[in-house]
């Protein structure tokens, strides 16, 4: 799946001169790292990769029952006039992506922003946000959760689960 996403990126980005990758905390960074590695194998170029945390930009801060916990933001390059590929594991309401765009603009004005997600939960968007690159689309209902597990987080293997909450 990651290989296919990378091939799609290759088609749209020619030589990747102006492209940077930005993984969203907390879990998008694992996917971003994998994409970076695979692109290096395919094209031989190593893309700059940053981590973006959206906690301080969220609009549901304090409206949630659980408090948010901030993670590290690390953007070791200049975003100005770059093509940014924003990477996250699951796209659901689109609110994190909105916050991520806001957070990113604090670093400069990118020439364009593309969105890459592993799992797209269709028909659940609160905002007019659509991904450019999708690993897999799934139909889900509100009460279900999509859980992605990465080996980097000390799971035995990579897994994507669709969890239905018990009533």
């Amino acid at each position: 799946m990651i290989s296919r996403l990378c091939q799609q990126l290759v088609e749209n980005h020619d030589d990747f001169q102006e492209t940077v990758l930005l993984g969203m905390q907390p879990k998008g960074i694992y996917l971003a790292e994998r994409i970076k590695q695979r692109l290096k194998e395919i094209t031989g170029t190593e893309l700059p990769l940053g981590h973006l945390d959206t906690t301080f930009f969220r609009d549901d801060f304090r409206r949630r029952s659980e408090p948010l916990k901030p993670n590290a933001t690390h953007v070791p390059f200049i975003i100005e006039n770059k093509k940014v590929v924003l990477i996250d594991d699951v796209l659901f309401t689109g609110r994190s992506v909105r916050a991520a765009i806001d957070a990113m603009l604090a670093f400069g004005r990118p020439s364009c922003i593309e969105l890459l997600v592993l799992i797209d939960r269709k028909y659940s968007r609160d905002l007019p946000i659509e991904p450019h690159y999708v690993g897999k689309s799934v139909n889900t209902i509100q009460s279900q959760r999509v859980q992605v597990e990465w080996r980097e987080q000390e799971h035995a293997e990579d897994n994507v689960w669709l969890v239905s909450s018990q009533l």
């Binding site: 906690t55 301080f56 930009f57 948010l68 604090a106």
Partner: protein
């Protein structure tokens, strides 16, 4: 680690747990990254109004708080007692209730009476941050001091030796620092003229040393306090000159030691009294880091307390 603070108000360090303090540090480190960005502002507290209520003078703390609030996009109102109805005889509670009727969510308060913020917290709903109450506590200063040490020693203060030098009995910074350092596992010593060291120090588990040389030899960090001229009405030491001869830290004193120690100062420095310029501006000193960390730490405190709005 629990991601919620155990308290609704920051009244003093005494009320915090170790995990609260570490949580503030962790969040503070993120905000330190934020304030070094080209755009230093985040929208987290855009729906919050904060009143800075200062019944006692302050430059640094007030500026630092105001900057922290503005970097979090909060609305800020400032109030200082000198130019207000307090002069006309309004009580503390009335003043604050009036401010709160204007829909203010958080209060940052400095007051000359120890316990004033504690009193207020029993009567009002807003979150209160103590920005110094008399000679009692100054929790945000202690948090930024310990945060600066924490970052300097790569996130561990366990077993570190810290000496606090100067006027301990009039210092709210000293008391808050003692609580914070002990909660983080550091050893604390105080050093100063015997007239400026309160009797209860040993009961707090703090060592007392009257000889600055021995104190510096013992410690990893020296946090040097300002001699507060405004609180020296009864003469606790004969003259400033005598104080600086016996307790002032200068380059020669540091060079006598066979190790490097860290020099801190909460500001404002009386140059030539507690620290000479060659020490204050040397590579041992992290005084300006403390100021930067002050904004980041206060942002973290505001951010975390805003999550405890009810």
């Amino acid at each position: 680690m629990d991601s919620k603070l155990s308290v609704r108000h920051l009244l003093g360090i005494k009320e915090l747990t170790q995990s609260d303090i570490l949580h503030i540090f962790e969040t503070g480190a993120q905000f330190k990254e934020v304030i070094n960005r080209p755009i230093k502002k985040v929208p987290s507290l855009r729906d919050i109004t904060v009143a800075n209520v200062f019944f006692e003078n302050s430059t640094r703390t007030r500026l630092s708080f105001e900057l922290a609030e503005k970097r979090l996009s909060a609305d800020v109102i400032n109030f200082s007692a000198a130019s207000s109805s307090v002069k006309k005889g309004e009580t503390l509670l009335d003043t604050v209730r009036n401010i709160l009727s204007m829909k203010v969510d958080m209060i940052v308060m400095r007051h000359s009476c120890p316990g004033a913020p504690h009193f207020l917290s029993k009567h009002i709903q807003a979150n209160i941050i103590n920005a110094g109450d008399g000679t009692h506590e100054h929790p945000t200063q202690a948090l930024l001091d310990t945060f600066s040490m924490y970052q300097h020693f790569d996130g561990n203060l366990e077993g570190k030796k810290v000496v606090i030098v100067g006027d301990i009995s009039h210092s709210r910074v000293a008391l808050s620092n003692i609580f914070a350092l002990q909660k983080l596992g550091a050893e604390v010593m105080v050093c100063g003229p015997i007239t400026l060291i309160p009797k209860y120090m040993e009961a707090l588990g703090v060592k007392v040393e009257l000889d600055i040389r021995k104190a510096l030899q013992w410690c990893d960090v020296a946090n040097v306090l300002r001699i507060q001229m405004e609180r020296q009405k009864t003469k606790n030491f004969p003259s400033l000159r005598e104080y600086s001869t016996y307790y002032g830290i200068n380059k020669a004193l540091l060079e006598e030691l066979n190790k490097e120690i860290l020099i801190m100062h909460p500001g404002p420095i009386n140059r030539g009294v507690e620290l000479t310029s060659d020490v204050a501006d040397s590579e041992h000193s992290i005084i300006l880091d403390q100021v930067e960390n002050g904004v980041a730490t206060r942002m973290a405190i505001l951010f975390l307390l805003a999550q405890r709005q009810e």
